[in-house]
């Protein structure tokens, strides 16, 4: 499926301007002048797509409609039918329960175990099925002699227009080099120069090249190593068992979770002295109908669980739209095209083969510029399905760094476009922004603790680190920095805490609140667990069939 012939003319223009563009560099937009383009074109600023929450700790704050529905959602369980103290007792009784087994959850589980805790790691799909596995570009750490954690701090704050929590950013930048070292000691193969020094690439918004990569399979490399380590250390883990509600104790501490076996619908009760949520992001909610780079399971489950035990969420009103994701072919619509592509020298071009923005603008700014180029200026390239996009000029990379650079540094991209007969070493990629990252999340502290005792958070599910716009290479750092911190803090907390009697009273109270607000009847059931992609048959069942289903026949997912 090479490009349709009508795109040839535009591709010729890209080729014709390439020689001239070798030396052409557009100015970056100063941080104080970003707001006009963001306000006019960034999806976060489309007012109608957000609404105020009517219940819960963030009542009165605005968030995308798709997330608001779930945060105001109904519980899947009836607390009168599950008594964690009586019923059949609990299925697991551990010190630390980690929910979610991506980079953050696996790191938390490893460190919690090292700190002496008995750990249970549970996950909705397979061990390692998470957004972590798909990150390509790499991980920031200021380890070069001409770099410093203070510059990393400045870049991170500026990239987010200074909306981040300064204490969280300090923890992020100071832990970064030791995270790189920790992963290497576990066997991660970082890209290096022949003398062993790290080969860093500059991503958008970095003043010094600071991004550590493993070709463009960085997340895959890190995740398969962590997964192997979890298995090698015999950490107990349960797959296909998402959490559907947290369990509290009578002292108001989080003390476990209700899981469900996704295939049999059987509930599994876990008693835990501490619970770490590492459930990842939100992309599969397809905010504003955007395609997403996210994993199949990215449905905001952890936000829902935490919200229901009274934990506030921060920066609910911004999502990250990654500026460069595949717009063609349709089969890979939304596929992430790593920022490393721009870091290596690919420019972003319109239908005339001309630049319209600096390729290393922060993600929110570049996404807004691309949308402006297509929607306002009409300089995008339309695909046969009506999707519009602009060019990302990958062949320029080989012109700058020598032939073979693209093949060596971007093998996943070469392979993935190659499957559809597009050779990105010779032809540009057609790209458009896609929903990529949940900037905000559960309110938490640098040690991984949240305002709710017994509840800890790490990874994409938490918020504050990246403020209202995240820099590339910082989320993958966040995973390991705060995964390790949350694991350590949770394990120490578990040693000291005196758990009380388990209860699901908070679910009763939540349902009462929903009812009083008139929402119980109109809101969906949450957490969502999986997106609804399967085509459903029309409703042909008699009402009594639905009513008479036995408990074991109720489909939860």
């Amino acid at each position: 499926m090479p490009y349709p012939s009508y795109m040839e003319e535009s591709i010729r223009k890209v080729e014709a301007t390439r020689e001239r563009r070798l030396k052409e560099e557009l100015p970056r937009i100063p941080v104080g002048e970003r707001m006009p383009v963001l306000k006019a074109f960034h999806p976060d600023f489309i007012k109608a797509c957000m609404r105020e929450l009517l219940v819960g700790p963030n009542k009165g704050e605005r968030t995308p409609n798709e997330l608001a529905d779930l945060l105001e959602g109904n519980s899947r369980i009836d607390p009168d039918k599950i008594d964690p103290e009586l019923n059949s007792g609990v299925d697991y009784d551990v010190d630390v329960l980690v929910i979610g087994a991506g980079g953050a959850g696996a790191s938390a589980a490893l460190i919690a175990q090292e700190t002496g805790a008995d750990v249970l790691l549970v996950t909705k799909l397979r061990l390692g099925d998470a957004n972590t596995v798909g990150f390509q570009g790499g991980t920031q750490a200021a380890d070069r002699p001409d770099d410093s954690p203070a510059l990393h701090y400045l870049d991170t704050m500026g990239g987010a227009r200074f909306t981040n929590d300064p204490k969280l950013v300090e923890a992020l930048v100071k832990d970064a080099p030791s995270v790189i070292k920790w992963l290497e000691s576990l066997g991660v193969i970082w890209d290096k120069k022949p003398d062993g020094s790290m080969a860093e690439v500059a991503l958008a918004g970095e003043c010094v090249p600071r991004c550590h990569c493993c070709r463009d399979y960085t997340g895959l490399e890190v995740m398969r190593v962590l997964r192997d380590e979890v298995k090698s250390r015999d950490i107990n883990y349960v797959e296909f068992a998402p959490a559907i509600e947290l369990i509290m104790d009578e002292k108001g501490q989080v003390a476990g979770a209700v899981l469900v076996n996704l295939e049999t619908n059987e509930p599994l009760l876990v008693r835990a002295k501490a619970v770490v949520t590492a459930t990842g992001g939100i992309g599969r909610l397809h905010i504003q109908g955007f395609p997403t780079t996210n994993h199949y399971g990215a449905t905001a489950d952890g936000l829902v669980l935490a919200y229901r035990v009274g934990c506030p969420i921060v920066d609910l009103d911004t999502m990250q739209y990654h500026p460069t994701c595949a717009a063609y072919p349709l089969a890979i619509l939304g596929l992430l095209v790593t920022e490393k592509t721009r870091g290596l020298g690919a420019q972003v071009l319109n239908i005339d083969g001309e630049q319209f923005a600096h390729p290393l603008e922060p993600r929110d700014v570049l996404a807004a510029c691309i949308i402006r180029e297509c929607k306002e200026r009409g300089k995008g390239i339309a695909t046969p399905t009506g999707q519009v996009g602009v060019w990302l000029d990958s062949p320029r990379i080989d012109m700058i760094h020598g032939e073979g650079t693209v093949a060596q540094n971007l093998p996943a991209m070469v392979r993935q476009f190659g499957r559809f007969n597009i050779d990105i070493t010779k032809e540009p990629m057609l790209i458009y922004p896609a929903l990529h990252y949940q900037n905000g999340g559960i309110k938490f502290s640098p040690d991984g603790s949240t305002p709710i005792p017994g509840l800890f958070a790490c990874g994409e599910v938490e918020g504050g680190v990246h403020g209202k716009n995240r820099l590339g290479g910082n989320s993958t750092l966040d995973l390991f920095v705060f995964g390790r911190r949350a694991g350590r803090t949770a394990a120490k907390y578990a040693k000291g805490v005196k758990p009380g009697k388990l209860t699901l009273d908070h679910v009763r109270q939540w349902q009462r609140e929903l009812k009083e607000a008139g929402l119980a009847e109109v809101r969906p059931i949450s957490p969502k667990l999986l997106p609804d992609y399967a085509r459903q048959p029309y409703d042909y069942l008699a009402d009594y069939v639905t009513e008479r289903l036995q408990p074991g026949q109720i489909k939860v997912a």
């Binding site: 099925d129 957004n131 596995v133 203070a150 290096k192 003398d195 003043c207 090249p209 493993c214 199949y296």
Partner: protein, 222 residues
């Protein structure tokens, strides 16, 4: 519309769908065999053939487009050997690999593993590199492995090439690649508190001062 067959049953689907999307179009709700949907996670390694051509083909269900008369199935899970080990107590040698995976010597080079790899890796060749103890070559040849498990599913000897490769890569990353001195130096500097004062200064600045410092910072190219 195309005719496809899911576990032997005929369905009609539009052109241009991946195997995964086609199954969803037919009403299947995927729980197993679906992950990142972007060819990184290895959840959806699958086999297929055609109504009138029994030869097995291999692909990722999230990438492969459906074709007329395709016969599809799902391979949800394939049990695989994965011994526990402590990387800290190991050496990057061929003996070490054989100690953990002694069955490696039973590979007789049938090449089914290579033929089944949806990433087009030279699986059989890295297995023979592993047998020779050439850890570096295994690491290079296997680096793009997404651990979908198709090689293990097709191995007549019950070997698990992707786990053997993973052990080799971990040993290579841990013991063979040269250390990065500037990384170690920086960790020591941070532990000594070298950057604390500067970060504190940034934290104490007014928003306007911080903004000016940010806009005036020098941007290095290389």
């Amino acid at each position: 519309m195309l005719d496809i067959y899911i576990m032997g049953k005929r369905y009609q689907v539009p052109e241009g769908l991946t195997i995964q999307a086609a199954m969803e179009y037919c009403g299947y709700r995927l729980i197993r065999g679906c992950g990142c949907r972007a060819a990184f996670c290895g959840a959806c390694g699958t086999v297929y053939n055609f109504k009138n051509d029994p030869t097995l083909r291999y692909a990722l269900a999230c990438q492969k487009l459906v074709e007329q008369d395709m016969y599809l199935t799902q391979i949800p899970f394939f049990p695989a050997a994965k011994p526990s080990y402590d990387l800290e107590k190991m050496e990057p040698t061929g003996e070490q690999i054989l100690k953990i995976y002694p069955e490696l010597i039973t590979c007789f080079g049938c090449n089914n593993c290579t033929k089944s790899c949806p990433q087009d890796l030279e699986v059989m060749w890295y297995m023979s590199d592993a047998l020779r103890g050439d850890i570096k070559e295994v690491a290079i040849k296997s680096f793009d492995c997404i651990m979908c498990g198709l090689c293990a599913a097709r191995c007549p000897q019950g070997l698990v090439p992707y786990n053997i490769a993973l052990l080799c890569r971990r040993l290579y990353g841990r013991y063979v690649t040269p250390r990065s001195k500037h990384l170690d130096d920086r960790i020591a500097e941070i532990e000594e508190g070298k950057f604390d004062a500067e970060i504190k200064e940034l934290q104490n600045m007014s928003l306007e001062e911080l903004r000016q410092r940010f806009d005036k910072r020098k941007i290095l190219k290389e």
